[in-house]
């Protein structure tokens, strides 16, 4: 036990004597937690619209002003030809073109039917799709108004109608930031824990101090534990600061008892630190450890469900995601912070992450060789 305390002392000193690292550990993630959620907003806004109005009628003007006043759009301007409009799209002056044909109003009233052409820049598929959907919504509403103007709806429904009402739980204001913050916090915890632990043993290897440790009577598990415990505690500090920031900046109040989150993070940090140490056992230079860690982190983060839902992935990717500890952390973080999940709700995730922790740390201890 005394040996272990000495090892811990050494590790803590090593961390605290490098102020540059400490600053980076705290400032960078915090900055990201403050800024990234504002950027990672998949809500589509400010779609630039170009109008080609061949009709110049009352209706076409009303439609344009309706679109202009919708929250999603910004009017880029009017042009006379479709060709010029395409030029605007190429120059990124417009994302979407609406062409209103000649005699649009007259055709609509006389023939009870008229066309509008919508041309969307779909280089960004999601944005193009949603932009078209929003425009369609505005046009349909406009259409409905015209119908009301020309057509008297009977009081009693002549044909059966199914009304649909929507209840969206947990995030009633549809605030995308609220969804992203817990995920980003989970990723930050992963990055700091994973990278620092991966670099730690390798640094000892590179500067040669590992030899001294190897010839000392320290046990393998003591050595690994000594590397894990400081970063484990550091992880809690980062989690706490992160939670405070998400409360102050993004107004996130945990939906349930916060101790559930700390309990899960304790197990999770253990797993991710074990993974980092495992990596550092198999690499020789910091550059190498860094690249290998980055490689795995990137796959873990992309397949964690942070940006795209796991359910939408093909089966093979879902299998990979099941072996990805980060996906459980992202899930639990969201469940606790947004939905107020209890310990019963996250029990399956706790069991899985516990297994991860045991296996990864066992492998880390097993693969660490005192002999060269």
């Amino acid at each position: 036990m005394t040996t272990f305390i000495f090892i811990l002392k050494k590790e803590f000193r090593q961390i605290f004597r490098d102020p540059a690292i400490l600053r980076l550990i705290f400032i960078m993630p915090m900055l990201q937690l403050i800024v990234l959620p504002f950027a990672a907003d998949y809500e589509i806004k400010n779609i630039k619209i170009g109008i080609i109005d061949h009709d110049h009628s009352d209706y076409s003007r009303t439609l344009v002003s309706k679109i202009e006043h919708s929250a999603y759009f910004r009017l880029a301007g009017y042009t006379h030809t479709f060709k010029e409009g395409l030029q605007w799209i190429e120059d990124d002056k417009a994302d979407l073109l609406i062409e209103i044909p000649h005699r649009f109003e007259a055709t609509l009233i006389r023939e009870s039917k008229a066309d509008i052409l919508l041309a969307v820049n779909a280089v960004n598929g999601t944005k193009g799709n949603l932009g078209a959907a929003y425009t369609l919504g505005v046009i349909q509403q406009f259409n409905q108004n015209i119908r009301v103007e020309w057509f008297q709806m009977p009081e009693f429904n002549p044909e059966p109608i199914i009304d649909v009402t929507y209840t969206s739980l947990y995030n009633p204001h549809r605030n995308y930031q609220l969804f992203m913050v817990p995920g980003i916090l989970a990723v930050l915890l992963t990055m700091v824990g994973g990278f620092l632990s991966a670099l730690n043993i390798v640094k000892e290897k590179e500067i040669g101090t590992i030899e001294q440790l190897n010839v000392s009577p320290i046990k393998k598990y003591q050595f690994i534990m000594g590397k894990i415990v400081p970063f484990w505690l550091l992880g809690f500090v980062i989690l706490t600061v992160g939670l405070v920031i998400s409360f102050i900046v993004h107004g996130i109040v945990p939906g349930s008892n916060i101790y559930v989150l700390y309990l899960f993070s304790a197990l999770y940090l253990l797993a991710i630190l074990g993974f980092g140490l495992l990596l550092s056992n198999f690499t020789n230079t910091q550059q190498q450890a860094m690249m290998v860690a980055f490689f795995f982190m990137l796959i873990f983060i992309l397949l964690s469900g942070l940006y795209t839902p796991i359910e939408s992935m093909p089966p093979w990717a879902q299998v990979v995601a099941a072996f990805n500890p980060v996906s459980y952390m992202v899930e639990v973080m969201r469940m606790v912070l947004l939905k107020g999940a209890t310990i019963k709700d996250i029990w399956p995730q706790i069991k899985i992450i516990f297994v991860f922790g045991v296996v990864l740390n066992f492998l880390a201890i097993y693969s660490y060789n005192k002999t060269n």
């Binding site: 490098d18 960078m28 990201q32 504002f38 950027a39 990672a40 907003d41 809500e43 806004k45 990124d92 009233i109 039917k113 509008i116 052409l117 919508l118 041309a119 969307v120 779909a122 280089v123 598929g125 944005k127 193009g128 799709n129 369609l136 046009i139 406009f142 259409n143 020309w150 057509f151 002549p158 044909e159 059966p160 109608i161 199914i162 009304d163 649909v164 009402t165 929507y166 969206s168 739980l169 995030n171 990278f195 670099l199 640094k203 550059q287 190498q288 860094m290 690249m291 290998v292 980055f294 796959i299 992309l302 397949l303 359910e311 939408s312 990717a317 990979v320 939905k339 999940a341 709700d345």
Partner: protein, 387 residues
């Protein structure tokens, strides 16, 4: 006079030759460094390949396989038909039926359900006799986009069901909208992320690898030896940059080949122009790596700066993961400072839209400006003497 004249000239020639030889020897040393580190090399090539595969085949914002639970209070003919219709839709997976409302909340909270469809009592009776009934859709709104999309899909299925049973509603005065998706009719994600992946990989290789490999010489104490040697210290730096430049060009080629062959992303514009823009961005990133290496002494700090300070801004403002026009104004202003943004714009215009130099000259000039600024800073800050 004659005598002193010609050896001098010869000396000049040999001096040039010596510099050349030194440079080649050093480049060779760096190439050995890179090639002998098999694990890192594997990662450098594996990273873009995995990214292209993941982005191309695994990651999608499309909503599929939504887990659905039904709270059916009618259990009659129409409600059964509606459930079957939901089940048949490719978007939904009807996972089961629940008897009580409380179950809906616990399932949603535990993440076992994404949506619960509540069918009211006397569903068939209401439809047949009152011509009106209401269905409630309760969604897990934590992810607002997903929740809106599944609500939209479910409404579509419910309307289909209505039209199937009672015939289509014919409405007067209908505006028909004809949509045309330009450039990317199948709405593929690949078009946006391929330029982004290139930007990111170049940033890693050029900025991160270069800065770390220079700082390593400092950390291991080799730098001192190199600086006291009669060699021009600029050669040391220069020879570090060149192998990474070549490596970057190879990897760009790998990414482009993969995206054309596997993902069917076209290269519509001039390929030489594409490479020229890549080259400019590579030089800018290398110069940035040099700047980082001049301000730090430890590999870990260099890595942390490159990773957190550069990778994340590149990911964020590169324009390929998050649309910049969505961001609040201060962030949009900040995004102009990130070189990757300009790179992304120009690559996107050349590759996907097939535009020429005329349309991207502004972005290219900005990138060239970055090269000059970073090179000047690193030259000014480069110290021959160690602290």
């Amino acid at each position: 006079m004659f005598f002193t004249d010609w050896p001098d000239r010869q000396k000049e020639v040999t001096h040039k030759q010596i510099i050349m030889n030194q440079l080649i020897a050093f480049i060779r040393k760096e190439i050995y460094h890179i090639i002998r580190d098999k694990k890192t090399l594997l990662v450098l090539f594996g990273l873009p390949v995995i990214q292209i595969l993941l982005f191309g085949f695994a990651l999608t914002n499309e909503v599929k396989n939504t887990k659905l639970y039904i709270l059916d209070m009618s259990k009659d003919l129409y409600s059964q038909q509606l459930i079957e219709k939901l089940h048949a839709s490719k978007y939904f997976e009807v996972s089961g039926e629940i008897p009580r409302m409380e179950d809906a909340y616990s399932l949603l909270r535990a993440g076992k359900a994404h949506m619960v469809v509540v069918i009211p009592g006397q569903f068939s009776f209401q439809l047949n006799h009152n011509n009106n009934t209401t269905i409630q859709l309760i969604t897990d709104g934590a992810n607002p986009n997903m929740s809106s999309t599944i609500q939209m899909y479910a409404t579509g299925v419910i309307n289909d069901f209505r039209n199937d049973v009672f015939g289509k509603l014919e409405l007067p005065y209908t505006i028909e909208v004809k949509s045309r998706m330009l450039y990317n009719p199948q709405l593929k994600g690949a078009y946006t992320f391929v330029p982004g992946v290139i930007a990111m990989i170049l940033m890693i290789i050029c900025t991160l690898m270069t800065s770390v490999s220079i700082v390593r010489e400092k950390e291991l104490g080799n730098m001192e030896m190199l600086l006291v040697s009669p060699m021009n210290p600029l050669i040391v730096i220069f020879s570090k940059a060149i192998p990474y430049l070549v490596l970057s060009l190879i990897i760009v080629t790998v990414i482009l080949t993969m995206s054309v062959t596997i993902l069917d992303v076209p290269i519509r514009g001039n390929i030489f122009l594409l490479y020229l823009v890549c080259l400019i961005f590579i030089v800018a990133s290398l110069a940035l790596g040099l700047v980082i290496s001049t301000i730090t002494d430890s590999q870990q700090v260099a890595m942390m700066i490159s990773l957190m300070g550069l990778m994340l801004p590149t990911l964020m403002f590169g324009g390929f993961m998050f649309p910049i026009e969505n961001m609040p104004l201060p962030l949009q202003v900040v995004s102009n400072v990130v070189p990757a943004k300009w790179f992304y714009y120009s690559i996107n215009s050349i590759m996907i839209k097939g535009l020429g130099l005329k349309s991207v000259y502004k972005e290219v000039l900005i990138l060239i400006g970055y090269c000059l600024v970073f090179l000047t800073i690193s030259y000014k800050k480069f110290k021959i003497r160690l602290a």
